[in-house]
Symmetry: D2
Subunit: 119 residues, 4 copies
């Protein structure tokens, strides 16, 4: 993790939006759409690759660079959205993981793809 | 940021997947699909709200709780995906933000929604 | 509906893919990702508009043309995906609508946004 | 194609929404979000399958039934969205396909996954 961490990113994104007077557009509804749009661009980078090829995508400097940039965009909008809603991203994920641990106990979930969703 | 931060979450998710032998399913391609699926569930929570209603969604304990849980799910798969690719999420977002700052200088982007995409 | 209808489109898309030897990439998994990618581009066209502005988007020749093109892309991949799965799109939608009519009877669903999902 | 075709579906969906007074929620922005939400559910059905497994998904009555239902939902919202915008779905797709045929001539695109996006 880079030093300032998520908190530094939250603040940098607030300042970025404030300087451009973009806060007016950054409602949760709009930010969720923007997040989905960026996820769509990420999918487009991986859609024709086999799962195995996707696991090697970062070894190609060009494709890897595009994937990293799309992941950066997704993170930007997710952080902005969580900030607009007053949600702590790491806490929300940690709580959800605890839920999943209860719903998918190790002994029953082991190796079963059907159980994988939601965690 | 909650104390263990993203690093703690990365490790907790690795352990969670390892214990269930789910690493075999967690290729970047599959994880990107799972990420998009969770973003779809998040959109479903906000789709019939006006932008103004979406800004107040956290004041409703039920709807707010569902939104927070969906955001947690999105974060979980984004962290897993970045981990699978060896991408540092905060660095990737910070680099992308620096790009956007160059592409949308304050003086020209001010208040213009048309310039808002990509940041 | 334009004259050849969906059947004509199904066949034109098959021929298009066959001529380019792209059938090898057109598994349901890959096509679903491509569909989601195009939906992401569609969202990006509407993300900063208010709902009211979105209702007037076709009156702007440039933005309207982009929205129409994205809708065309979404339809292309949805038709390809349904063809790959052997699903009749209109029948599948008609059956789902009949389900929704049962789940959301007129007298109870009237004017309630909360009931709108799934139909 | 089932007999009434897309036109029949357009009208059935209009009547369905009118009877429930849901037209007020069916702005293009909202419908695009609903469309993306349904595509997310479709992705969730396919996310842990290999591309090969996804090609056989309809042979499993349960999973196949869920995939068909999700495709029906996606079609419902795409038809509603196109209707709200006054776009003819088959025409928009046909025009886009003609564009793609120009951009990806057979002799150059043959067998190349990198060229596949956008068609």
């Amino acid at each position: 993790m880079s030093d300032p961490g998520i908190d530094g990113l939250v603040h940098a994104l607030r300042r970025f939006a404030d300087e451009r007077d973009w806060g007016q557009f950054h409602t949760p509804k709009n930010l969720a759409m923007a997040l989905a749009g960026e996820v769509g661009e990420l999918l487009a980078e991986l859609q024709w690759l086999t799962p195995e090829e996707s696991a090697r995508v970062m070894t190609d400097p060009e494709a890897g660079g595009r994937v990293r940039a799309e992941i950066g965009d997704v993170m930007i909008y997710l952080v902005r959205l969580a900030d607009a809603l007053g949600v702590d991203l790491v806490e929300a994920a940690t709580d959800k993981l605890a839920d999943s641990a209860r719903r998918y106990p190790v002994e029953r979930a082991r190796g079963s793809a059907a159980k994988a969703p939601g965690a």
